[in-house]
Every structure is written in C-alpha cells, then in structure tokens.
Symmetry: C3
Subunit: 363 residues, 3 copies
Amino acid sequence: MQGSDMARLGEGLTWNEFKQLPMSEKVAFFNHEGRPYHTIFPQQFNRAMLDDLCGLATSIRRIAKSRSGVDFLHSLLSHKRAMLYFTQPSSRTFLSFYAACQYLGLKPAEVRDAATSSELKGESGEDTLRTFSSYFDLIIMRSPKQGFAERIAHLLSSTERPIPIINAGSGKDQHPTQALLDIYTLQRSFERTGGIDGRKIMFVGDLLRGRTVRSLSCLLTNYRDVEQFFVTDPRLQMAPEALALLDQAKVKYRLESDFEKFIPKVDAIYMTRIQDEWDQAGEKPVDVSRYSFKPKHLSMLAPKAILMHPLPRRQEIAAECDKDPRAMYWRQARNGMWIRVALIAATFNIDDQIREYYRCNQA
Amino acid sequence: MQGSDMARLGEGLTWNEFKQLPMSEKVAFFNHEGRPYHTIFPQQFNRAMLDDLCGLATSIRRIAKSRSGVDFLHSLLSHKRAMLYFTQPSSRTFLSFYAACQYLGLKPAEVRDAATSSELKGESGEDTLRTFSSYFDLIIMRSPKQGFAERIAHLLSSTERPIPIINAGSGKDQHPTQALLDIYTLQRSFERTGGIDGRKIMFVGDLLRGRTVRSLSCLLTNYRDVEQFFVTDPRLQMAPEALALLDQAKVKYRLESDFEKFIPKVDAIYMTRIQDEWDQAGEKPVDVSRYSFKPKHLSMLAPKAILMHPLPRRQEIAAECDKDPRAMYWRQARNGMWIRVALIAATFNIDDQIREYYRCNQA
Amino acid sequence: MQGSDMARLGEGLTWNEFKQLPMSEKVAFFNHEGRPYHTIFPQQFNRAMLDDLCGLATSIRRIAKSRSGVDFLHSLLSHKRAMLYFTQPSSRTFLSFYAACQYLGLKPAEVRDAATSSELKGESGEDTLRTFSSYFDLIIMRSPKQGFAERIAHLLSSTERPIPIINAGSGKDQHPTQALLDIYTLQRSFERTGGIDGRKIMFVGDLLRGRTVRSLSCLLTNYRDVEQFFVTDPRLQMAPEALALLDQAKVKYRLESDFEKFIPKVDAIYMTRIQDEWDQAGEKPVDVSRYSFKPKHLSMLAPKAILMHPLPRRQEIAAECDKDPRAMYWRQARNGMWIRVALIAATFNIDDQIREYYRCNQA
C-alpha cells in the first residue's frame, strides 16, 4: 500500500528534475499522510509530526519498562528486516539505530565499510543500494556523499519494490534524526513546565561546520517564540544561508561571542565540538577554550536550565559537570534511541497500534 | 542423524586421497538422500534436485507474502545458528545469505575480515574453521583460496560434531549458489511457456575468467536441448576444459564474436562484467564496448526473451534498459535470496515441512 | 534491583581511590550475593562460585539438546540486548560470546574495530562506552588497554543506569572467561573420577607472557591439593608475582625445563603458544621445538590424562594428535561457549530458573 503509493515519487521526474524541486514539494513526496515515509531532511517534520513523534517515543519508553511491554514491541515488526548501510564511520548513530530496530523486532543486517562492497568492482552506488534493497524492508544509511540518501529514495521509488530510506547522516549537510533527538530531549526536559514554546536556546562552539546545530535550529522554527542565541568566535559563526532560513521563518536570534554573559539568561545550552578535522593546513586555529563549559559555570546556570551536547565531546564540557542533574547529554543519547524507535514505528504505520496498547495497558 | 551419517565422508580417506576422487564420487559424499548436505560444486545438483529447489523457492516466496507465513518460516530453524565466514569482500552474496538465514529464523553471526581472525597469530585456516564450527550449526563461507570450502567440508566430516558447509564462492573456480539463482531466474521466466528445456541461451563478455558463466553453463547440461551461445572477443572465450565438459554432456554450443547478430535469435542473454582486475600489467585490454547491451538493442530482443546479469555491472548494460520488463537482473538478485532460503531448508531437511504447509495453506 | 545496589560501587570513591583497593575489597564490589555482576578478574571467583558455574553450564548444555530446551533458553533474556565491544582482534572469543548471547535470546550488537568509533574524533574511551551503555543491558568488552574493563565497570556503577561489564580480555593481564572455560574443561574431564582436587597439572610453553596460564593457575588455588608443574625454557618461566600468589595460597608447584620427563606424571597438560609477537628486535628467540607435543608423546601420556591448549596453536601440538580421545582442545572451545552462557545467566540472576527447569525436565 505505502510502497505502491510512493511509487509516484519518481513518476515522470528524473533525478535531475526532482533534485531541483523546492523543499516544500519534495517534502510532499517524502511524507505520507502526516507520517514520514522516507526520512531525508529535518525540514520535512512540521510541528504536528514532531509532537506525534515525541509522544510516541514517550509511550514506547514507558511500554518498554515491563517485560510484557518489550514482548509486545518485539512482535510488531518481527516479520521485517532492515539494512544499516554505514559507509562513513559512526558507532554511536549506528548502535542507536541498531538498538531501535531490535526494540521493534526488526531484524538488522549491516554494511559498515565501503571496502567490502561491490564499489571495488566499479559498481555505481545506485546499483549497490538497489541490489541491497531487494533483500530488505528498510534501509538506514549514512554516507559521506552529500545528497546520496535523497538520491536513493528517489531511485527506489521508481522501482517495482520501493522501500523506505532513513538518512542517518549524509555528507556535511543533513542529520535529521540527530535533530529529532535534540527536540525530544528539549521536549522531555520542559514537558512539565510548558514545553519548548517561548524558550531561549543558546548554541555554542562550531556553528559553522556542525550539521547538528543547523538541523536543530531549523526544527526549532516549528515552535512559538523560541529565541536562538548563537555564541562563538566570529570565524565559527552560523552560515548566512542558515540565518536566512531563520529570517524567513521570522524567528528571533542573536549572534554573540561572550559565552559567560549569556549562561544565566537561557533555558538550554547546546555545546558543540570544534570540528578541526575540516581545518585548512596553515590556518591559525580558533582559541576554543573560551567556548567550553567549566565547573564554575554550573553556578551561573539557571536551576531548571539544561546543558546539552550531541557528543562526542572533547574539552567543551568538563567531565566534572557530568553528575549535575542539568547535564542532559547522556540522557540525550538514550533519547536518541527512543526517538528512532518512534520514527521507525511511524514509517511502518504501526504508531497507532502502539498508542492503542499504551492507552489500554498504562493509563 | 545427518551428521553422523556424513561422518563417513572422511572415513578412511585423507584429504589428499579425497581431493583426487572423481567428481561423481565426491558428489555422493556431499549429497544425502537427494538433498545437498555440503554445497560445494554446481556439479552436485542433478535435474531432480534443481526442480525440487526451484519449486521449494517458489513455495517459500509465496508463503512469505503473509505475516503468518513469515512467522511459520521463522519458526523452522529458530533453534539453530549459522556463521557467515567471508574472508573475501562481498556485500551482495553476504547480505543475500544473511537475509536467507533470517527468513528461516536461523540466527546469524559473521566474520567478514581475515584480519580479525586468529590467522594473524599463525593459526591454520583449518584450525580456525574447526574452532568456529564448535559454536554453530552451519557455516556459509567465501574464501579467496581455491578449494578451501571443500577442504573444510572434508575436515569437519571426520570430527565428532560435523556441520554442513555452504560454499559462497571459493577462489576463481566455484560459486554454486550463483548458478542456482541463475537457474531459478530462467525457470521462473519460462515457467508458463514450457520451462528451460529447448531454450537458446547466449553468454556475453568475460567468458574466460567469470566463474558465474562456467557454473551456469555446467548446470544447464541438466536440461534437454538447450543450446548455448558464447559470444565474445576470442581472447575472452570459454576455456577449453569448460567446453570439454559440454562436449562430454553432448550439449550443442557455438563460439561466436558478433554480438548484435545473435540478439534476436536467443531466449536469454547473460551479460557479464569484464574482470579486468585479473589483467596482466602491459597487456593490451580488450575493447569491451562491442559486448555491451545498449538501448538500441532492446528492439532487437524477442518480446519474451530476457536479459540477465549476475551484477555488479559496469558499462555492460546501459542504465536506460533497467525499466524494460525483460530486464531481469534486479529480480535475479531477489531470486538469489529465495533460492538460498530453499537451499538452507533442504540442507536441514525441513523442505518437506514447507511443502506440506504450502499445500495446506496456499493451494 | 541489581543495578541500583551496584551503584554503591563508585559511591564516594574516585577511580584513583578505587583502583588502589586490595583485590579482596574490589571483589566485594564486583560480585553480588555470590554471583558475578561485573566479571573483571579471575580472582573474583571462589570455589563455590566455580562449582555453581560448572554445574550450571552442564545443565544448560543438556537442556540445549532438545528443541523445547533451546526454546526455553531463548526465552530467558529475549527482552535484553548486549553489546560486544571488541577493539582488539579476536574472532574466537568474539564468536563464542556471540553464540552464548544467542543461546539465551539476548540480542547482540557489535563494535569490532576501534576505527569506526568516535575515538577518531578525539572522544575518550570512557565517554564512548558510557554512551554505548545507554543502548544496551550488558557490555562484553575486549580492549588492548590494561585495566580498561575495570575502569568502565567503576565508571558505569556511578551513573543513573549501571549495566554489567564482562571482561573478554583486557591488555596483557586478564582474561577471566578463558580461565573459567579451562576450569570447566578440567571439571568435565575429571567429574567421574573425583574432580579437580588432588590433580597434577602441567603448564608448558610461554608461561611468562601468556595470560591464560596465569589466570588458570590462579583459579586452581581454589582446589585442594592441586600440584602445578611449570615446564619451559628458563627465559619463558612464570613471572615472580604469579608465583608469589601461589606461595601466598600455599600451593605446591615446581619449575622445570625437561618436558618429556613429566609427561607420564601428570593428569593434565596445558600447552601454550610462544607469543613471539612480543619479542624484542635483536633478541635471540627461544628454541620452542623442545616444548611441543608430538605424536610420540601420546604413548607416554597416562590413559586418563588430558591434553589441553587455549588455541590458536602453531606447532605446539602436532595435528596428528587431534584424533586422540585425550586431546581436549576442540572440546575446550565448545566448553567456552557453555561456560559463557552460564556466566551471563548468573550475571542476570536467571541461574535458579535454569536449575529449576533442569530439575523438572531432565532429572
């Protein structure tokens, strides 16, 4: 049903035509009746979908506390199989998706190294993925090639046996499930105090090159009256096109460089790693020590504020802060698993079944 | 039962004695009451076994269309575990077998890199496989060493706990399950029009070095009145020993070099990749552009003929041909999964159970 | 329950304080009511625990002979997930643990290569493991870093969501489950003739650098009147601290160099591989041919004695000896799987359930 409907995606449109569509038209292809079918961009999630996914993740998390609940979840997709195709190193995202599949009974298989693939024999990446798609019911993929997940979603939609694609990171641009887990962490942290609307959220560190900031900043435009603070060295400040997106959405934001000044003023601080692996040789590195969260900063932070980090971290947050109850980064990782379970459940249209079970068994 | 019977395999025979047996005597060891126990060579499959396997694969494919059917299949071998030991790069065959195991509930484990193994510490390959065999109920193996799967099948058969071996590609010589999937694709394509008997089948490309052609050509000798056309540059033509096998089986074949001339005359075209990774340095490469299937060739092809390719492909078939209904190569990949499910089912003697279920539930 | 109790482990103690505790106090943290919670050192197993584990392994092994028994075992931990984190090459131990998890229904996920991990991005190993711990219920880890498993056990015990750690080899020092499987092999071999107490056990080969000898020698101090013979070239003889441990336990042992002389006098011979990968450049290698078991030695060995090897082997035992019924090394490998199933069962407190099932169904 889903599959055959989605076959429309490629209908009549070549890849070159499709990729030039405006985002809003692409989104109409990727989503299906208010649910994600292919998950490619953060932009394809609107407020209603985000609320649905966060609610679903919480139901799943609570169902999973009992053995009978876990057994129920396992039964849902035990007749399906997923391939995790990760040709860019990533243990964290990989394991999080792997565990998410296991929670739904979805049997996983993996390709984690481009070198084991037929690309060595000169096959195109498109052929490789199309072949693999014939063995599985879902592909979760991370690739160093920008736009590759979108390309494959388009390609498969024009075949006899389309299956959903989830983008687990594609080049430097997109990492939609990271943005979803960040939203879920904010939503959980503020659920008893009015939610995400109206919050002040500060991003610190490598705002230029970190795709997580760009993706989360974009998703936050779905919430009312959120103010975004971008605090970093001017050389690492948000890219103009990311800010243009905020301007267009009429979102309030500030570009700042004095980290300590804003600590007391915000509801959430999102620290990021300086991605110096992209530094040019000979370039003078930015002094990052000014953009790290130290034990002394804990006393400046509001009692109900939270401290986030997408991980991995280096010196951006001192290990001494880990035990503070406002440090959310470890819980963020676990939230990532739950929101991925929710996303896969929505992709396979079993979200209503889960909500029904939750209503009958937990309420 | 099977295991202890098979212990006869090594009885009294050293490896050096065993490997010099004629093929017909080896086959008597590898098969067991009309079923494959160890799957090592294409030659061990006779017409009755091929018909059985193709029929079984089709039953499985249809059973798997319903959730209850998938649940039934999963229950069959859920008490067994398989190891996929792939020390030669291969994602395609690996994933196909992995998915096949999952369909039968057979729990898979994997070794995909020789470097993680004890061979680094100077252990013999025989010791490695014998140790691994103690944890599992089936070994599916691909190795760069010619004859290695046969060697391990012989070795394990003389131990206290023999388990079946499936050869998933062993050196340059053998790839029996690729040949089985090609047969299954031909059988499915022609099942409503009289089957494989009497067909004209053309092989194109690297007939010298591609093991898939050699294996399929050999299996086709089981069918009546099949005529084989080998069309390529004389430098890439079939090896004399492969042709000797056809002569011995009294099979009609032709050695040709004019590709376009024969397109309209055959029922199936089997394109192959030029394996230039084996080229000697300094050797002048063959002009392969004459042996590639282009969009203009579609109109020369008979309406009910089919176009096959074992994949991966490079330029042998233009991507524009992919949507033609006679292009079978994507379906070939999925057929590979089904025939492997059937093969594993036959190996574990659960084929009759599947046929019984099919009779009761589908007919 | 287990988890929250274990949170005491780190309470009040920093890692620097913890790691300096005497072994007896550490053990009190790692064990929990007579069961292992974290498995880190061989020293944490006392006689009662060893007897319990060996008995449990035998029950499991017998239960697993029937389909209904396997189904029972699979149901026990099917709601749990394990991560196998192996950043040091090891197929043997990896697959043995993997199979052990599968026997209990515990769903496995794997990291087998440090290069795929976030360590590349400058993350600390502690952060990596803490993140991964959020997705799983058990971590089985092998690391080249000495003491790393202990470090992680301590770290996780101070978090909100502690999970058990099993050390599958950590640097050059510890490999507790190898020692357990060796004990189980001895126990099985001698169970009808009075058990391990009072046996003469000879260790041969690289006694200086092989961690398996040190670990087994240590565990044997739990048995009454065992005499240990260390037979090798003086340059590869047991390290003084390993002997000090034996002195302290008042265990009888002999340091010898004449291998053949002692063959007839012992109940078990434990051969080991010369670990010449640790040799210094320029060092003159030891002549190891004097410490290898040859076919001629079979007639010197007592009829009820056994021959062991932790594998992988090189020339220490001639392949011609493999068929002798006293050659235990292949069975040792399979024993390793069973004792690991037993260890995981004890870790998750399901051992009593298994004993109960065994009593009701097998006795």
